[in-house]
């Protein structure tokens, strides 16, 4: 294998430029005011994305690029307009300003429209930025991906095919400026390794994937381990069959528990609640889950993947307990929805330069419990351990939950044979109340995480 050459434009690839974003935002806000906006806010982001994908130890795809963009929100006469673009030249910005102001004329007046201001604004700890990630060479990524692929092959003889294996880094630099006091910059760095092997036996193919993403290079899971775990997850599904339709206890592994929590997060979206369109809307202050269930959204978490100094409209980051020991304690708000609902922003505005802010989460997690995951499985006489799912699942308007599931059947506290082509279904409120075990295996490997959890009873639908 030859060494990979350096990309054009610098020793370690194109540096992510850091000088102009805030200036561009400030200039754009000035142009918007000149064009007639009473309030204006610009958000810009520049990213660098570099990745290597391998197949059979050779490079399959080498990608490197940086890109940028800027978005402008204006309010004029309580009407909202938005425009964006990638052209940061004077003419480009002028066009964005004029478009946004013109578009606002078509929107309806809404007294809740308004930018956050005053004490709401500011910056908390910025979250990790690791200069070592800027310096990751293509060779390092190639090596990492090859190690993951090799370890996956070595882990099980039935793993011979791969959907993909790769490694990469991602840098972002964002800036915000508003006519009403928002002003800030944030940087983030991410390194990742992933592996999606396919195991094959007796004409059946089973795939699984495992990945690790960290903001600090030194904490990234070893590529061999990523490959080995992925291979084991694929191989253990070989021979999977349908289970019978029945009501049984169901255990979600940490990845599936995290996706359950992610689905649930829409139910605490302040806008859905305000519109009486969340199944949790009428439950504030009430017990909705078993004791020991605590769900937190924390944008200030040290080492968190979703940690940021401020949210997408410049409101200082904070920690919000959504469910505390089973009691629903807070919904999530951005500035506009908070005003509408007579609440305060929870610094929950998510943002991309090409869209308006919307309510989202930062580091959302289910607090760890005291139980070992093995003991949670041991407590099940007959049930399902779920390791992969298909479909969106949670409908937070109706409270219905139904998803396709793969996993391992549990008999007398032991994991036995693999199961596929079944669904697990329930009612979200009953599911929350039915969580009867929470594991201690919480790892902040993604922006939404959870430990192993067990539902006392769900419907497994199969044969």
């Amino acid at each position: 294998m030859r060494p990979l050459p350096m990309p054009a434009g610098g020793a370690r690839g194109e540096r992510i430029e850091t000088v102009n974003l805030l200036d561009a935002c400030e200039h754009l806000v000035k142009l918007a005011r000149k064009a007639g906006a009473s309030e204006a806010e610009a958000y810009a982001e520049r990213t660098r994305d570099a990745s290597v994908r391998v197949r059979d130890g050779e490079v399959e795809e080498l990608q490197q690029a940086s890109s940028k963009g800027i978005g402008l929100r204006v309010i004029t006469g309580q009407r909202l307009g938005f425009s964006y673009g990638t052209d940061l030249s004077k003419e480009g910005l002028k066009k964005i300003a004029e478009t946004a102001v013109a578009l606002a004329k078509g929107a309806a007046k809404d007294e809740a429209n308004g930018l956050p201001r005053g004490r709401e604004l500011g910056a908390a700890e910025p979250g990790e930025y690791d200069p070592a990630i800027e310096e990751i060479s293509p060779e390092w990524k190639l090596q990492a991906a090859r190690e993951a692929e090799k370890a996956a092959r070595g882990a099980d003889p039935r793993v011979r095919k791969f959907d993909s294996t790769g490694a990469g880094d991602f840098l972002s630099h964002s800036a915000i400026f508003s006519s009403h006091g928002a002003r800030g910059e944030a940087r983030a760095s991410y390194a990742y390794v992933y592996c999606s092997p396919v195991a094959e036996a007796d004409g059946q193919l089973q795939t699984a994937s495992w990945s690790d993403t960290r903001r600090k290079l030194a904490t990234l899971q070893r590529p061999e381990e990523v490959g080995r775990i992925a291979a084991q997850r694929a191989a253990r599904m070989l021979g999977a069959r349908k289970a019978k339709t029945q009501r049984v206890p169901v255990v979600f592994d940490p990845q599936m528990a995290a996706s359950f929590i992610a689905g649930l997060s829409a139910a605490v979206n302040g806008l859905l609640v305000h519109k009486k369109s969340s199944f949790l809307g009428a439950q504030l202050g009430k017990r909705i889950a078993s004791e020991g269930v605590t769900v937190v959204d924390d944008a200030t978490l040290p080492h968190g993947i979703g940690t940021r100094p401020f949210d997408g409209e410049g409101v200082v980051s904070r920690r919000t307990a959504v469910i505390e020991d089973g009691v629903l304690t807070s919904f999530l708000y951005d500035a506009t929805t908070a005003r509408k609902a007579d609440a305060a922003s929870t610094s929950s505005a998510s943002r991309a330069w090409s869209s308006l802010p919307s309510i989202g989460t930062s580091n959302l997690y289910l607090e760890r419990g005291a139980l070992k995951p093995e003991d949670i499985v041991k407590g099940v006489k007959n049930g399902l351990y779920v390791t992969a799912m298909l479909g969106r699942g949670a409908d937070v308007v109706t409270g219905d939950y139904s998803r396709g599931a793969n996993g391992i059947w549990i008999e007398n506290g032991e994991l036995t044979y693999p199961v596929q082509e079944v669904t697990v279904s329930g009612n979200l409120l009953e599911m929350l109340r039915g969580i009867d075990a929470v594991g201690d295996d919480l790892d902040f490997r993604a922006s939404t995480v959870a430990p192993t959890i067990r539902f006392s009873e769900l419907v497994v639908s199969g044969a």
Binding site: S83, L103, G106, A107, L390, V422, S425
Partner: protein, 476 residues
């Protein structure tokens, strides 16, 4: 040479001599193939909520993606900085996939003559935003007028005018303007004891704005409201294997998930799809003929040309139950000695192309829908559908049923809620026991995701009966 008579002869997105220089730069280290993709995407969106237009937005993004290929190895780079030095750097970065040095020969490009499958006279980007907003207001009014229990209506209008230029070192040069629009409405009906049901409907495609004169916003709003009201009081869907009858149209998502993805040539080449190596084998009931067709007039998934410069095509994938073909992009076709089927698509210039579907549908059969429903003693009638997903290795797929009813003794009876279908692609298609004559395409709402890339697609299905499908639900 560009034809003189047409206004379409305006300047290309990037001057052609510069495109040639970029191709040369991408080949400068010994790649075997290079491609330059230029895209300008202008989009407009408006949102209605709580009875009022919340926002209107518009923007434009231009960029290029450069790909260099050597053997099975791909170098990809992109840029939204359009000055020549930045573009050359981008091409040189893509070139790094190869490791030699060579003097690239001249590239002589010629335009591919293209048919057109979209009748969009006025670019959607040029239609005044107030007309787009009016659509939302009409839809909202119609939904609320349908029934007092409709308490929340959310409407969205979005369009894009996407201009592309693709040039490669084989000498192909293709340009296309791909307009796309979509109007959709979601309603929430408030029932007794806090019950909430939702309805969703909409339409669009690669169509002129006048499309909405026939496919009216009022009709869209009313249908979304009807679904929400119809399912109030629904009982939990029965769990377990059942006979299901799928209503025509958007139910085509069954094909998209159950077979379509598994026939994409990247999975076939890697051997990770359960359909790999099965060409010529029977993979479905004889009643099943599946077509992927990029040439449907005005179809949401239609393409005059794919994102690699190859013309859109109509491909028969499964004929009378026998597997006939796969969906090829340039790279996977080249590596396996096949030809591209015009299936190389990408979300934007920031993405390398992948083999993808366009409009995927089932050829009609000869049964009437009444006959099909009437023949079911006990089963489930699925009228409206949500999204779906597939695992292409084990073939497990799901799709959500948003409006379903029990079938009892050949009659459609009670509404049920929370239903989802799960199956394994080929098994489900072998259990197709009746196909209706009422072929229908979805109204133009579908977006397909793969490897983090979203592309617009269409699906279609006549009324179909499938036996022994597992229904996920909470009922007995």
């Amino acid at each position: 040479m560009p034809r003189k008579s047409k206004p379409a002869t305006r300047a290309p997105l990037l001057p052609l001599p510069l495109v040639e220089r970029l191709l040369s730069a991408a080949m400068s280290r010994g790649a075997e193939f290079a491609e330059v993709y230029v895209e300008r995407n202008t989009s407009t969106a408006a949102m209605l909520d709580e009875g009022a237009i919340k926002s209107a937005q518009s923007g434009s993004v231009t960029g290029i993606g450069v790909r260099a290929i050597r053997g099975a190895q791909v170098g990809y780079a992109y840029s939204d900085d359009l000055d020549e030095p930045a573009l050359l750097r981008t091409a040189q970065t893509a070139a790094l996939i190869a490791d030699g040095d060579r003097e690239p020969g001249p590239v002589n490009m010629s335009r591919t003559p293209l048919p057109t499958y979209y009748q969009v006279r006025t670019p959607l980007a040029s239609v005044d935003v107030t007309r787009k907003i009016e659509l939302l207001q009409q839809a909202d009014a119609a939904a609320r007028a349908h029934d007092k229990r409709i308490k929340q209506v959310m409407g969205g209008y979005a369009d894009q005018t996407r201009e592309i230029l693709v040039a490669n070192t084989l000498g192909h040069l293709a340009e296309d303007r791909q307009d796309l629009c979509r109007l959709s409405v979601q309603c929430v009906a408030f029932g007794k004891k806090g019950e909430r049901r939702t309805g969703f409907y909409g339409g669009g495609g690669r169509v002129d704005f006048r499309f909405f004169e026939d496919f009216s916003p009022a009709q869209i709003g009313k249908e979304a409201a009807r679904q929400a009201i119809a399912t109030l009081g629904a009982v939990p869907a029965p769990a377990g294997p059942q006979t299901v009858v799928l209503a025509p149209g958007w139910s085509g998502i069954l094909l998209h998930e159950a077979v379509g993805h598994g026939l994409e040539a990247d999975f076939i080449r890697k051997g990770t799809s359960l359909f790999a190596g099965k060409l010529g084998e029977k993979v479905a009931s004889e009643l099943v003929t599946v077509i992927d067709d990029g040439t449907v007039a005005g179809g949401r998934g239609s393409i005059n040309v794919d994102d690699e410069g190859n013309p859109g095509e109509r491909k028969v994938l499964i004929e009378n139950g026998v597997l006939k073909g796969y969906l090829y992009d340039h790279l996977n076709a080249k590596l396996t000695g096949q030809r591209s089927t015009g299936s190389g698509r990408r979300q934007s210039f920031r993405h390398a192309p992948l083999p993808r579907m366009t409009n995927t549908y089932l050829a009609p059969g000869d049964r009437t829908p009444e006959e099909i429903i009437g023949g079911v003693a006990k089963g489930l009638y699925c009228r409206q559908f949500g999204g779906g997903q597939v695992d292409i290795s084990n073939g497990n797929f799901v799709f959500e049923i948003s409006e379903a009813y029990l079938i009892e003794k050949g009659e459609i009876t009670k509404p049920v809620k929370g239903a989802m279908l799960i199956g394994v692609g080929p098994e489900a298609l072998k259990n197709v026991t009746a196909v209706g004559s009422d072929a229908a395409h979805d109204p133009g709402l579908g977006t397909c995701g793969k490897d983090g890339q979203a592309v617009p697609v269409g699906v279609g299905l006549p009324t179909v009966r499938i036996d022994n499908v597992t229904v996920g639900g909470t009922g007995a």
